[in-house]
């Protein structure tokens, strides 16, 4: 049984059909990619599955349970973590607090714990801090724990976002252009980290990317999207040589 199954998902923004009859199956531990020209609807698909938009039609099943129409926070605590294309970090908050906040739904001390510093709260907060430090170690930023996130360089901010998503204990991780705006060095680091995370935590990963190098290197299966519809699906090799994909990216040759 696939970990995540999306069947026949369609979404309209008013009269505009943003996504049409979209299907997806992700097995545990698989890395899948989603590519397509600008405005093809890639991020919309992410937002539909993670509950930010409610799809007009279709069914989404995560780990045997339907998550269509649930609140984003419920879906996230079911095991669907994500990062954002434009960094959505919280300025004014330190790096460690970012990652600790990913554990929000795992905290169990309730309001009494929040209002009075009960032993239970101290215990849980301590445990959360430890987990957060381990995750920071994993993405290679343990020394930045107490810094404000806005003081970090761009590449490091991306990694904080990844660690924050990992703190929610996802079974499947959605990465929206994880290497956007990175320089070649940061890019190689990021790819290494994604591989490590994939191996160590045995995660399924679904990623949107523009850089072919990243997608071709990381993904086992790639979907290509154009105008809200999947025009090709296959291994990197197949996608690379698919004329429809080349057309979508470069435009059709017109014979004069």
């Amino acid at each position: 049984m696939p970990l995540l199954e999306v069947s026949n998902m369609t979404h309209f923004f008013g009269g505009l059909r943003a996504v049409h009859a979209y299907n997806l199956e992700i097995e545990p531990g698989q890395i899948r990619g989603l590519i397509g020209p600008n405005g093809a609807g890639k991020t919309t698909i992410f937002n539909l599955i993670t509950g930010i938009y409610d799809p007009t039609e279709g069914e989404i099943i995560l780990d045997g349970e339907t998550i269509k129409g649930r609140e984003p926070n419920k879906i996230a605590s079911r095991g669907l973590g994500r990062t954002f294309q434009t960094l959505r970090l919280w300025r004014h908050m330190s790096v460690i607090d970012h990652i600790k906040l990913g554990r929000y739904s795992k905290l169990d001390y309730g309001l009494p714990g929040a209002f009075f510093s009960t032993p239970r709260r101290l215990r849980e907060e301590e445990k959360t801090t430890k987990i957060a430090m381990d995750l920071l170690e994993l993405v290679g930023l343990p020394e930045t724990a107490d810094q404000l996130v806005t003081n970090l360089p761009y590449g490091a901010q991306r990694r904080v976002e990844l660690a924050r998503a990992l703190a929610t204990e996802p079974k499947i991780l959605f990465l929206d252009e994880p290497t956007a705006g990175m320089n070649p060095e940061e890019l190689i680091d990021m790819m290494k980290i994604i591989r490590e995370v994939h191996q160590e935590l045995d995660l399924a990963i679904f990623l949107i990317e523009h850089r072919m190098k990243v997608v071709m290197d990381l993904c086992e299966v790639i979907q290509t999207l154009d105008f809200g519809e999947v025009i090709a699906e296959g291994t990197p090799e197949e996608i690379r040589n698919d004329p429809k994909v080349i057309d979508a990216y470069l435009g059709k040759e017109v014979s004069v």
Binding site: P72, N73, W90, H92, D97, L101, Y104, S105, L107, A114
Partner: protein, 445 residues
Amino acid sequence: MPNKIKSAGKKTWGTITSRFKKFRSNFRDVPLISWLVAFGVTVALEIFVGQALARMVGLSKPPALFGVALVLDNPAKFLSAIIYMILVYALPVGVIAYLTKGVGNQIAKWLLQFPLLLTSVVHLLLIYGVMHYWTNISDYRLLVARLAMISIIVTLSLNVVNGYMGEFSCSHPGFMALGAYISSIFTVLLFVTENRFGDALMPAFLGPFMFPVSLILGGFVSAAGALLVAIPSFRTRGDYLAIISLAFMFIVKSLFENLEVVGGARGISNQPDYANLATIFVWTVLAIWIINNFVRSTMGKALNAVRDGELAASAMTVNTQKTKMVAFLFAAFWAGIGGGLFAHVIRYINPGTFGIRKLAEVLAMVYFGGLNSVTGSIVGAVGFSLISEALRPLDIFKWIIIPIMLILIMIYRPTGLIAFREFDVAQLFQPKEKQEEEGVDHAAA
């Protein structure tokens, strides 16, 4: 030539600031406990020789609030007031804090081995002691101190919504009114014999023990009122909360104006005098402790996450709806407590008290002190209360000077004096090291 003057001026200014920095660096390693001891000695000094000293420098009695009001009344007394302030406050505080810093640091270090609770109790007792004797000198001081502490509670609770959560709520006077009325009705009905509610229903000696119950009841009613505001306005973001909460404030006000049972526009009087300095002090400490606990927990940090990016917060499993509700109700609860205490300090409330003036005051305290900061709220509430009292002789001009001050703060420090800082009690009580001073010297060299 003008250039020369300018550079000379700059030079003297530079030497003054560097001297001042050097002078201040002597006090960097003074622990809190030494400051408290120094203030204690000052207060003792004022009690024993204050009157004589005031006569000597040409004042009829010790100035109640640092002499500002006195000087504004009669500018000729300026020099006398300054001399008095230096002799009784500045000099002894500075000298004793400086002399006792060694011992103070040792005591602070010694206290480190005990649980934080004990250290806190020691410090709080000292703070209370100083305040008790300081306010003993004049009733006016006592009143200002009690109102300032209530302001701390109310400001802190509003900061949870306007600062930590980043929404703009205007209904705090409404919540205060609910708390004030409910607790007043409770105590007057049960423990006071008067015209409106008739004979006392319970023996008077129970009163002080039931007072907390009345406050908490008021707090819960405020929180229930907050629910009415929260349900419609938290479905969306933006200005809706500001508008709905402002409406709520006026609704509460006109509700009490039209309820003849609770006195209509004339309000309720004859509240028993339960809110003495110690009671208010305990409630203020409780409020600071609980609110600080809340905003420093991961659950409280979720408020900041909702403020700085709600979408990301919900993707990180934060239940944004619940988080906002809890914080808003929590803030309203404390505003209710503050209102209840306020009613029992003034011992007379009417609906007019909780209007737009009160709102302006509380908002000013929050933004003056600093958003997203417990320390800021304490500084803002106390500072604003003192300034507002000190400028009282100016009458209407007070309301010109205070807004100008606020505008200046908004220009030079848009988030307030002490914004976005965590309030760490353990750090506050720690012995102070000499390290920082070396850093300053280094920079000066």
